[in-house]
Each structure stands twice: as structure tokens, then as C-alpha cells.
Symmetry: C2
């Protein structure tokens, strides 16, 4: 009588079956204090018997903790961001929390909508790659919040997790120098993007350390896409030059586009042109030649963002900015022109 067939069992169903009050049933199923081992056992058995599953909506309402986290990224279908999502999801699941995932498509309007949905869903916190330059909603957002990605830089009073661009650029440039390309050309993103400035600053720092004038490096801009990279590379190839051309692209998609442009021009990578990318997307592995690149630790960034969010939710310490180290992936797109390379004599450079 107490439990109709099509209703999901509640804690009172469990209590009735175990012959205790719902308070006692709740205690048995949660706290470990003030309860006889024998009573607890009876309740647990009753819960299993009726197929009881705790209603997290009710728990969330009562406790003010929904047990859910929000993740707002530009595009879950983008390999880098899906990697971030995977890391975040894993870390959240390990803590018994669920992840609400949204794609903003780099559209501030869409982003605002998703943030509102997050607030309504009463998530306990959110991880956001902010697309809107202003992010007016921030003050209104009113939830524990961690930013990810380079655009997070704009908001000094919010904790953030990103990749260590400076270290990444150093990694790429060191390799280029070691392989005999002391002043590679640069393919960068649009001037409006903050990431571009960050990248360029890191390059300059590296240059002054080596006592080389940054001005001698050729620079072309483009959108962070395959086509953007292709166009930029075409312009680079159209410039007068002597000998081998080395390129450091600020994004793997652009690097892949650049590689296409090289091939379309009838040249060969890495024989005539060397290319180093930045991101570490899977496609780089299957390109030919394989794309040498500096890989961002997407998954780790996702994990650390969740951990940072936990801090934010629980202790509210000082806001922190975390930069995750990137790592080099050497494949075939970079020719070794260094003096110590025996291959150099044969003029091959093929890897």
C-alpha cells in the first residue's frame, strides 16, 4: 500500500519496510553516529530490497549543494576542449560530482544563456573559458568559478588554470634553435586576441636572452584555423628568402594549414620548410610528415580546474593562477640543420 507501482521508492518506503522512522532511516543511510549496527543493517537491507536511490534533487535542495559542476567551453567537438572536458569529468566523478557541459561557440550571447542555465541548475561551481571580452555577467554570476584558457588572463580577480605559454614557447624555440633555426618565422593569431600578445611576448623574452633581435623574425597573422594557417603560409612563401624556411605556428590547426600550403606550392616539408605547431591535437600525429608541436596538457588542465574549483567552493582562499607546463612532441615536420647532424651533409633532412 505504501509504495505504488509507478512511483520511485523514497526514504519513507525504506523506513516503513525496516520498521523505523524516516529520521532513523536517513541516519542509517548517511551519518555513522547515533545508530545501532543492527538497525543500520536492517535499513540498508530494506533500502536494497525496495530499490531505493537517494534523490539528489531533494538532497540538493535541503543542503544547498547540488553535487553538480558546470563546464562552459567553446566547442566540445574541438579536440583540445574535449580533452579538457574529459579531464574535468574524470576529476569530478572521482569526487562523486556530475558535470553539466555546454558549448558556447565563441558566442557571448550563447555563453550568457548557458551561464544562466548553470545558475538556475544550482551547480556548486563552474569552469568557464570566457569568450566575452567584458564578461559583464561575472559580478552577477555569483558562483564559485574557475576560468580556463588564455582568455582568463583578462580577469585578475578570478582563479584560473591555463597552459604555461612562456614555457611552451621556450620549448619550441629551444628546439628550433637546437636544430639550426635561430630565427624562425611566426604564424600568429589575430591581433585582437590576447593569446597572440602572450605568445609574442614570450618569443621576445626568449630572443633577448639569446641576444638576437626579434625584429628579424618574419610574422604573419591569421585566424586560428586551417585556412588561416594556409593563407599565412602562402604570404610567408611569397616573401623573398634564401634557403630553408622554419615556421613556428601558434596553433596546430594553423600549422596543419601551413603544411598544406607548402605542399600546394610544390615544396616539401621538412626538406624546404620546417613547421612547429602548438596545441598537440591528435591530427598532428597522422599528418605527413608528423607535426612537431608543443602539446598543451588539456586533460590535466581540466583536472586542475576542477581541483581549483573545489578549493574555491570549500575554503575560498586567495585567488590563484595556475600555469600547466606543456610538453614537446617531436615528429617529422622539423628539419635538423644543426652542424652536428650527419644527415645534413646528405641534404636529406627527412625524418
Amino acid at each position: 500500500m505504501s509504495q505504488s507501482r509507478n512511483r520511485r521508492p523514497t526514504i519513507v518506503d525504506v523506513a516503513e519496510r525496516a520498521g523505523v522512522s524516516k529520521s532513523t532511516a536517513a541516519r542509517a543511510l548517511t551519518a555513522s553516529t547515533n545508530i545501532t549496527e543492527e538497525t543500520r543493517d536492517r535499513v540498508v537491507k530494506a533500502a536494497a530490497a525496495v530499490g531505493y536511490e537517494r534523490n539528489h534533487l531533494a538532497v540538493g535542495m535541503r543542503s544547498g549543494r547540488s553535487g553538480m559542476l558546470g563546464l562552459v567551453i567553446p566547442d566540445i567537438a574541438n579536440p583540445f576542449w574535449s580533452d579538457v572536458a574529459r579531464g574535468a569529468q574524470d576529476r569530478a566523478a572521482r569526487a562523486g560530482m556530475s558535470l553539466l557541459v555546454f558549448s558556447s561557440d565563441w558566442d557571448p550571447q550563447v555563453e550568457a544563456t548557458h551561464l544562466q542555465t548553470l545558475r538556475r541548475a544550482r551547480v556548486d561551481g563552474a569552469i568557464i573559458n570566457p569568450v566575452s571580452d567584458s564578461f559583464d555577467d561575472l559580478d552577477r554570476f555569483g558562483l564559485p568559478c574557475v576560468f580556463i584558457g588564455s582568455s582568463a588572463e583578462r580577469f585578475p580577480d578570478v582563479s584560473s588554470v591555463g597552459s604555461d605559454i612562456s614555457q611552451a614557447v621556450r620549448l619550441g624555440l629551444d628546439l628550433l634553435v637546437a636544430k639550426g633555426h635561430p630565427a624562425p618565422a611566426l604564424i600568429l593569431g589575430p591581433k585582437s586576441r590576447l593569446a597572440r600578445a602572450r605568445f609574442l611576448r614570450a618569443v621576445h623574452e626568449h630572443c633577448v636572452e639569446r641576444d638576437v633581435d626579434p625584429a628579424i623574425m618574419a610574422i604573419e597573422d591569421g585566424e586560428y584555423t586551417v585556412d588561416g594557417g594556409r593563407e599565412a603560409m602562402r604570404r610567408l612563401l611569397a616573401r623573398p628568402r634564401v634557403g630553408h624556411l622554419a615556421v613556428f605556428a601558434a596553433n596546430d590547426m594553423m600549422a596543419l594549414g601551413a603544411m598544406m600550403a607548402v605542399r600546394e606550392t610544390g615544396l616539401d616539408c621538412p626538406r624546404d620548410v620546417s613547421i612547429v605547431g602548438f596545441d598537440g591535437i591528435p591530427s598532428g600525429e597522422f599528418a605527413w610528415p608528423g607535426l612537431t608541436t608543443v602539446a598543451k596538457p588539456g586533460r590535466d588542465i581540466g583536472e586542475r580546474a576542477v581541483e581549483g574549483l573545489f578549493d574555491e567552493i570549500e575554503h575560498k582562499p586567495e585567488h590563484r593562477r595556475i600555469y600547466m607546463p606543456c610538453r614537446l612532441i617531436e615528429r617529422g615536420s622539423l628539419a635538423d640543420l644543426s652542424v652536428h647532424n650527419p644527415m645534413r651533409i646528405a641534404g636529406a633532412g627527412r625524418v
Copy 2:
């Protein structure tokens, strides 16, 4: 007094400010009946003034609808599945619903845990790529549910959305035949996988229609990975053969691995070996030569799955099985050996 600073405003805060009862406030903010335009206006203004956001936890508890959907896939970082997730998320968002995303990593144990989390979260329904062969939890799952992927085939009494393998195989085989490869070799998945049988059956059907004996096609098995494809291709190349070798791989990763094996053996694709893949992952575009493949409509599958789930939630009609058509992506990995191809004389085959 009514609204302390650190509490989020509720509907009674709105009601007090608008000078109405909370019932009226609720009506103004939801139903469009039995309310004066003037009153509604006052309430809406009051809601905006106090920064009211409807609490979906409470709504869900009261209405029995949480407004959330669950998605359980093997790996959100896998390009195909992240595409599915993107489609599902878009469609859900369009209906004002949120998506809880989980990765099972092909582990039945992990899957079971996620399903339990979904039930506890009181999602209104779930989209699942079932990994466990038995899926004992299905009867216990007790939620509206749509399966996706070829493994869904095992469960006749659950609605499912997948790609039309039969049509996809036909597409690939038709192209191979048209380009002068009447009996390509096949690289398939492990014998234990249902998808393998489905693929092979479709090939056989196509063969009988063309009056060719399927037995003349060489077959190699492997895991659905790059290495699996590489090994399979090595074995294929080790077999005695005359002239050009054409291969139809049941998975893009395997196809990419096969392409590597070809290169590692000192042969050239597509001059010596033609390769056609199946999936349509982005990496295929950047490989060299570009991978000709049959693309599964991942995003569409995600969208349709959500739509099917809506049907399941609302009307509960008959269970349905939906097969989404795949589409051909022609790139450079398939040589044209047909009699009508002028290039054939030159012996190039390069695209």
C-alpha cells in the same frame, strides 16, 4: 529584512517586493493564464530587481522533471563521440535542457556507476552507448532511455539511433568498384565485436548483388586502433599479390594505421595501395594523402538520439530503431584505376 545578503533570492522575495502572494508571483513567472498584464509586469520587474533565478532543483522536485538528460559514452575525448556529444548537447539546449556527460571507458563497472549517478540525479532520460554485453542494469534502470552506436543492436526492446552500416558499406564499395577495385581487401575489427559482423554482412550483400564471390576478398582483423590497423596492413602486404592493392578499413584509426604501414614498407598510397576508411574523424583530413572515407554523422546521431529520447519521455510510443545515413568524403587515398580515367595511362593515380 526579507532578503539577507548572502541568500539567493526566492520567489517569496519577488512576491513581497511586487506586493503579491507567492502563488501569483509563480503564475506571473510561468503560466500565461489567470493573471493581469499589469500584475505580471510588476512581478517580472520585481524579479529582475532582486535578481531572481528560478531554482531548478525545487522545480524538479515539485514537478518530477529535473530538466536534465544523461549521456554515457565511451570517451568524450574521442573525436567521434565528442561529435555525438556536441549534437546531443545542442539539441538538448534548444529544448531548454541540460546534459550530464559521462565517459565509461568501455568499462562495464564504470558504466554501472555512471548509470546509478544518473538515476540519483533524477535525469529525465538517458542516452547510452552500452558497453556491457549483458547490461543487466537495463531492467533496473527504469528511466526513459535511447541507445546509440552499433552495440545497441543487441537490445531489441530499446529505442536506438545508429549509423546505417549497410548504406555506408554500399557507399564505400560502390566507390571502390567505380574506381576499378572490384574486390578490395578488408581490415575489420575483432571477431568478438558485433559491428564486425554487421560490416561483413553488408559487404556480402553487396557482393551477391554484383555476382562476385565474397570469398575472394582478403580479410585481416585487428583492434579498432592505429596499431591494430598497422599490423593488419602489414599482414596484408605480406601476402602474395599482383599489382595494386585496395583496402577498405572498418574504422578510420585502422585506416590511418594502415596508411602508416604502407609508408613504412616503402610503398606509396595511393600509387601502390588504395585505402578507404570508415568514421570520418578529422585526422583523416590532415593525413597525407587525405583519407577517403565514409563519414558517420556523429552530430546528427546525437541530435536524433535526444529527439528520440523526447518521444520516449513524452509519448512512449513503440520503440524505434533509427539508422542515420553516412556520407562519402573523397580525398586522395583512393587511386582511380577505372578504364575511363585518363590518368591511368600515365600511371600516376596521385590526386
